[in-house]
């Protein structure tokens, strides 16, 4: 029986080979090769058509690579190839060139005469077509056609399996990537969310370079917020004008891949070598915050529609993970603000009031017992100092720091320079500092405090430092006292203060650096305050 039906045996072997593969591109190549062997043709090809009926892929066997390169482009689906697509029926020809539908071959194309075209259908829809030409020993027979049709049926099953397998694997990779992203984002509130996304996209889509591009508004400049991969450092942080590109279209909500012809304008500044770029919108908590872009280097395969779907799905899910991570950070920040406000309230409502009341009581006691007055007075002084410290602390705890607020700026200078001093300086505000210090005077006050504390840190070797900012309607002064080495030991201490004097004189004030009788130095900076012009 095998003797009588060699065709069936070949078909059985071919079907086995075809259905043994799982990777789709391998499956397609295997089908074309099996068909070629099955009917002893010289050239074979498998054309995959997209939903619009256009040739999406063209896999050919039997033609040497040099010849393919010489022809330059793959068939576009006109002529007889198009007829198979259009009719979805097998076409068998003795001479391809004599068919009225023939459009001729391009230059360098080898001669072809006998032709057999068979559609591959999966669940009633045409997936693609098998094309065979130049059968050795005469035209294709009816039996050839039947055999290839049978092979096409087996091929359909194999393609379907490979597709399902591909989808399952893709879903698995996607969920693994998203799982990693979510756990990285939620593990630490300080995680650079965009960096995590970019890293994950690079491994998920096989991109060499991934970036997150943001913009203030549609049409505004594009800013590369984050980049990961090859050449990332050359584009991260750069800004480029808004031009119509795959990136800007993604910012407007439209995912896409750069056209395959390579004529699309390069969206990135500098020459990031790229063969293919795809970009999708990144939406977080309903806001389109930017575009997620993946780039493959020249020499790598181009991105496919499947890659774009994968990236789109990733961006949607990852956007949710980022939103969750951000809301967690917001909640923690809010809790901290509330907690600090509660502490500030408690300090104000209870601690200061009790200290004040106790201090008043002590003072009354002092006037009733003059013998103990002196020692009681020392305690009262301490209580007042504590109240002043708490008042500064209450202010510092109110974290809604407006940047124009000069007291917050002065506090920041102190906390910034504290690590360079032995102890945290004591900071006291006297008078309505925010209301008095404005504009250039406020900027100078911040600079003066910074320079004074830097001087102390550099030269004084002080144990304790105290700062008093005194703002009255006519004059403002900044006094920094330390218990360090004093003036005599260091000449450079004086030379470092020229700038401070200049700043004071510019406002019509002055600066004095003196030795304290108790040791250490006292730096006193003051300037008159001009009456405010009525707005």
């Amino acid at each position: 029986m095998a003797e009588a039906q060699p065709g069936l045996r070949s078909l059985w072997e071919a079907s086995l080979l075809v259905t043994g593969e799982l990777d789709l591109s391998n499956v397609l190549r295997q089908i074309a090769e099996s068909a070629l062997t099955l009917v002893d043709a010289q050239y074979g090809a498998l054309g995959v058509i997209d939903p619009e009926g256009q040739l999406e892929q063209f896999i050919h066997v039997g033609m040497p690579d040099e010849l393919v390169a010489q022809i330059g482009h793959l068939p576009e689906g006109h002529g007889v190839l198009g007829a198979v697509i259009d009719t979805s029926c097998p076409i068998r020809l003795t001479d391809l060139n004599k068919d009225p539908r023939a459009v001729g071959f391009p230059k360098h194309h080898p001669p072809m005469d006998t032709f057999l075209g068979v559609p591959i259908e999966i669940r009633g829809e045409t997936f693609g077509n098998l094309y065979l030409t130049n059968r050795s020993g005469g035209p294709f027979t009816q039996e050839d056609e039947e055999l290839v049709k049978e092979l096409a049926t087996a091929a359909a099953t194999a393609i379907n399996n490979a597709r399902l397998y591909g989808e399952a694997r893709r879903a698995q990779q996607l969920s693994a990537a998203l799982g990693e992203v979510s756990s990285a984002l939620l593990a630490s509130p300080d995680t650079d969310a965009f960096g995590v996304l970019a890293q994950s996209v690079a491994s998920l889509t096989g991109a060499q370079l991934v970036s997150v591009v943001v913009s203030e508004a549609v049409g505004s400049k594009l800013h590369v917020e984050t980049a990961r991969g090859e050449g990332a450092s050359t584009i991260e942080g750069t800004t480029m004008p808004w031009t119509d590109s795959v990136v800007s279209r993604a910012m407007k909500g439209q995912p896409g891949i750069t056209p395959m012809d390579g004529k699309a304008p390069a969206p990135f500044i500098g020459d990031v070598p790229s063969a293919s770029i795809m970009a999708v919108p990144l939406v977080i908590s309903g806001d389109r915050v930017g575009a997620l872009c993946a780039t493959r280097s020249a020499g790598e395969s181009l991105f496919t529609k499947g890659d774009l779907e994968l990236l789109t799905e990733f961006a949607t899910q990852a956007g949710l993970a980022v939103a969750l991570a951000w809301s967690q950070v917001d909640r923690q920040r809010l809790e901290m603000v509330e907690e600090r406000a509660r502490i500030a309230r408690d300090l104000h409502d209870n601690v200061i009031q009790r200290l004040f009341g106790t201090g008043l009581g002590l003072q009354a006691l002092a006037s009733a017992r003059p013998a103990q007055a002196a020692s009681l007075e020392t305690h009262v002084t301490q209580i007042d100092a504590a109240i002043a410290d708490i008042r500064t602390a209450i202010f510092a705890l109110q974290t809604q720091a407006a940047t124009q607020n000069v007291r917050h700026r002065l506090l920041e200078v102190v906390s910034e320079l504290s690590p360079r001093l032995s102890t945290i300086p004591r900071l006291i505000f006297i008078g309505p500092v925010d209301l008095i210090l404005e504009g250039a005077l406020a900027d100078d006050a911040v600079a003066v405090l910074r320079e004074s504390l830097t001087n102390v840190a550099r030269h004084a070797h002080a144990e304790t430092v105290s700062v008093e900012i005194n703002a009255a309607e006519t004059q403002v002064s900044i006094t920094v006292e330390d218990d360090g080495l004093g003036l005599s030991s260091s000449l450079s201490r004086r030379s470092g203060t020229k700038n401070l004097s200049a700043r004071a004189r510019a406002h019509g004030g002055d600066f004095q650096l003196t030795s304290r009788s108790s040791g250490g130095t006292r730096a006193h900076w003051y300037a008159p305050v001009n009456a405010q012009r009525l707005a």
Binding site: R354, F356, T358, G361, D384, Q400, V433, L435
Partner: protein, 216 residues
């Protein structure tokens, strides 16, 4: 004899200040209240020479109480006593229409001297300070209305509220503002409440004008 009425929610503070004032020749405490409620009626009953009040009261807004006292009894000067800082106290004193403020510091004769000066009709809040408070508050409400424009369009001051704020910083009482703008005193009171609520929404003044609401 200068007669002082005291409004503060902390008993230990009232006791200490009463001791301090009564120890001073020529000064005496004629009444005290721990809450805003009832304070106005008792001030009307005792007619002191000076009212000393903490703006931060548990049952309401000390600033509004101060404005009511000034409107009902323009001859009674008010002195704000506060545990907050100079900036917050300055704003509170100007908005409340008080003659001055004293921080809760133990040492020095600042409180006693301020009471004496204020009782003689002196104003410790200068024109210059009022101007600074007004421009600061205006700037803050503008900044806040820009910052919150999408979420909270209500922060922006209306024309009436801007007018009322200007007259407040000129030191006018609610009754005088009503005469100036041709409004009933009660209407002015409503504008002032709305204004205070809006100022309270801007973070920097929150403590000064609406600090009481923080704890509720």
């Amino acid at each position: 004899m200068t007669r002082v009425f005291l409004v503060d929610d902390h008993e230990i503070v009232r006791r200490g200040i009463t001791q301090l004032i009564n120890a001073e020749p020529g000064l005496e405490v004629v009444g005290e209240s721990a809450t805003a409620r009832g304070a106005l009626a008792r001030i009307t009953a005792t007619l002191p020479d000076v009212a000393v009040l903490d703006v931060h009261l548990p049952d309401g807004n000390g600033i509004e109480l101060c404005r009511q006292i000034r409107s009902a009894h323009p001859e009674i000067p008010c002195l704000i006593l506060t545990a907050y800082d100079d900036d917050a106290a300055s704003i509170a004193a100007v908005v409340a229409g008080a003659s001055g403020y004293v921080l809760k510091n133990v040492q020095g004769r600042h409180l006693v001297e301020s009471i004496l000066q204020v009782s003689q009709g002196k104003t410790l809040v200068t024109r210059e300070l009022s101007n600074r408070v007004r421009s600061s508050l205006t700037k803050q409400t503008q900044a806040a209305s820009q910052e919150h424009s999408s979420r909270d369009p209500q922060v922006k001051l209306t024309l009436r509220e801007t007018q009322v704020l200007a007259l407040i910083t000129e030191g006018l009482t609610n009754r005088q503002i009503g005469q100036r703008l041709n409004l009933k005193e009660k209407t002015v009171k409503n504008y002032v409440s709305g204004l205070l609520a809006k100022l309270g929404m801007t973070c920097r003044t929150q403590v000064a004008v609406y600090g009481a609401r923080l704890s509720t």
